[in-house]
């Protein structure tokens, strides 16, 4: 695994995890209600 490989892995994982956490925090900010 080269440094460039680590960078691509790190950036990709960070973007996806960041997006996932952002979304779920926003979803759960609102109290769960019956739709």
């Amino acid at each position: 695994m080269t440094l460039a490989g680590w960078i691509f892995l790190g950036v990709s994982w960070s973007v996806i995890l960041g997006l996932l956490i952002f979304c779920f925090v926003r979803v759960f900010e609102e109290p769960e209600e019956e739709l």
Binding site: M1, I7, F8, I16, C23, R26, V27, L35
Partner: protein, 547 residues
């Protein structure tokens, strides 16, 4: 019998046949919770492709550099399509339409547009009739793994032989007939119909609330096991997990100059998100007018990406590299997704401590991924019967079960004759790209981008960057048209002309095409009948609807 109209219109619903019309005026089904529909859409999107197709595509198309076109396609194609489908689905649901014919009709009011919507029922139905069979293999393999049958097989050759015996392609020392596979198919099929029979809230939502967290637990457990394997063979220290990750992630920037790499990335994003099928339209139709679609669509997409890039990228390729080395991994990666999932992975699990447990977790996770996808593929056809013909939900699920069961048989008994490939081409590839292009153009250009933008933002818990208004109007349709034409000229012609089909399989391929044509025509006739029926019952209010 169900018919749903916008709340504001309930009072003015015109009924020419008194009680008959009243009976039509029932509430449609609803999701129980917001997390329920997010997990259901994510469940529809997360499938075998996340764990088997993505890592192979990435490794073959530039490694880490593949992620550049992948993320660009995700931003310009995947996410916009998610928002479009959620918004169109919710909009159509307000008028009592759970499938594309009614939704398209509402977007344009042109009398012929609803027939394009047939693709949105046809596509998922075609995928369902072969996908359910493949899903049943996973259940069978989870059972064999738990019974220790897979761990007794010695070598990849024995694994391959076991698979072809199970599929009924050959009779060998493992299987003398297709009966075991058929029994697992019956169980899987019955489970699907039972969940669909239970409905949206009591069936699909309940399933996804249990299956999705379980799927992630299984996948994380396997990924942790793989990433902590280190060097499985001390005699070959360079065959290790880190170098396996390197095989997937080390960037080859020269790949970015190749059009096929960009096309592969766009295709992967497109197919992984379950867009262009018609499933998200149906799921979103069970939302209310004020329910959010912007944040929910993005959350479902990001959940799928987590499963694909982080979990899918951490299992198959790294572990296969650690066991087969830099040359062997090329062979494994080129052997196809099924081989990877059903031959390579169980073989590897047979080599590690607690392999029986991990093999069981592997096939169980894929089965759960398959089950949450297959129920979503069936729902458009069921929703069509419920919404457009006022057939009771349970009855609709049973009718679907009977018809789909008959349609599944060629995929099971003629598997070795190219039937599944043909179904996958027309239902799982061609219909998807075409449908996505039509719905995007209809929503942004015919319905109008201003109304579309307002529709996406109605009740939204997330305000989209304004640039997306232009991306959705110009970039996404253009991107789709490029993908459609490029893919058609690259692969489509060859398949249509049966290039590579052996002469003895030509009748089977032609037979499959006739079956598909008959299905498409029948669905078109059903759409015509549905509108004629509604016209007769006086359920079409405006002048445009009466067309």
């Amino acid at each position: 019998m169900r018919f749903f109209v916008p709340r504001r219109s309930v009072g003015v619903l015109r009924m020419t046949e008194g009680n008959k019309g009243m009976a039509e005026q029932k509430q449609r089904q609803r999701w129980g919770t917001k997390i329920g529909i997010i997990l259901a859409v994510a469940g529809s999107a997360v499938g075998l492709g996340n764990f088997l197709r993505f890592p192979v595509q990435a490794a073959q198309n530039g490694g880490g550099a593949f992620m550049i076109p992948y993320f660009i396609a995700f931003l310009l194609l995947g996410i916009p399509l998610m928002w479009i489908e959620w918004a169109v689905g919710r909009y159509g649901g307000l008028f009592g339409h759970g499938t594309a014919p009614g939704m398209f009709h509402r977007l344009s009011q042109n009398r012929y547009v609803k027939y394009f919507g047939v693709i949105g029922i046809f596509g998922p139905l075609v995928i369902f009739i072969y996908y359910t069979y493949i899903e049943s293999w996973l259940l069978g393999y989870a059972f064999f793994a738990l019974m220790g049958k897979l761990s007794q097989l010695e070598g990849a050759q024995a694994m391959a032989s076991f698979l072809s015996g199970y599929q009924g392609l050959v009779q060998n020392e493992f299987f003398s007939s297709i009966a075991p596979a058929y029994i697992f198919f019956l169980i899987t099929f019955a489970l699907n119909v039972f969940i669909l029979w239970r409905g949206i809230k009591g069936g699909i939502e309940k399933l996804c609330k249990i299956a999705m967290p379980l799927l992630f637990v299984f996948a994380i457990a396997i990924a942790v096991r793989v990433l902590t394997l280190g060097v499985p063979n001390l005699a070959r220290p360079s065959w290790n997990i880190l170098n396996g990750l390197g095989f997937l992630w080390n960037p080859d920037f020269s790949a970015l100059s190749q059009a096929k790499v960009w096309l592969a990335a766009a295709g992967q994003v497109f197919f992984t998100l379950s867009v262009g099928i018609g499933v998200i339209l149906t799921y979103a139709s069970y939302l209310k007018r004020g329910d959010d679609v912007a944040l929910s669509g993005l959350t479902a997409a990001s959940t799928n990406e987590f499963a694909e890039v982080i979990l899918g990228g951490s299992i198959v390729i790294p572990v296969a590299f650690a066991f087969f080395g830099p040359i062997g991994i090329e062979v494994v990666a080129n052997s196809g997704a099924f081989n990877l999932g059903f031959v390579t992975m169980p073989f590897i699990f047979g080599q590690i401590p607690l392999g029986v447990v991990f093999a069981f977790l592997w096939f169980s996770l894929l089965f759960l991924a398959g089950l949450t996808s297959s129920v979503s593929l069936a729902q458009p056809a069921i929703a069509f019967m419920e919404d457009e013909f006022s057939i009771d939900r349970k009855k609709a699920a049973l009718i679907f079960g009977v018809i789909a069961f008959i349609l599944c048989q060629p995929a099971i008994f003629f598997l070795g004759h190219g039937v599944v490939d043909e179904l996958d081409f027309w239902g799982g590839t061609f219909a998807l790209v075409l449908f996505a292009t039509i719905e995007t153009i209809l929503f942004t250009w015919v319905f109008g981008i201003d109304k579309a933008w307002e529709e996406i933002h109605h009740g939204a818990e997330l305000h989209l960057p304004r640039i997306y208004k232009y991306i959705i109007k110009y970039v996404t349709p253009l991107f789709l048209l490029i993908v459609l034409f490029a893919w058609f000229f690259q692969d489509g012609f060859k398949v249509i002309l049966m290039d590579g089909v052996s002469p003895e399989n030509v009748p089977f391929v032609l037979g499959t095409r006739i079956m598909l044509l008959a299905m498409f025509v029948a669905l078109g006739i059903f759409v015509k009948m549905a509108w004629a029926r509604k016209r007769k019952l006086g359920l079409l209010k405006s002048k445009g609807e009466n067309k």
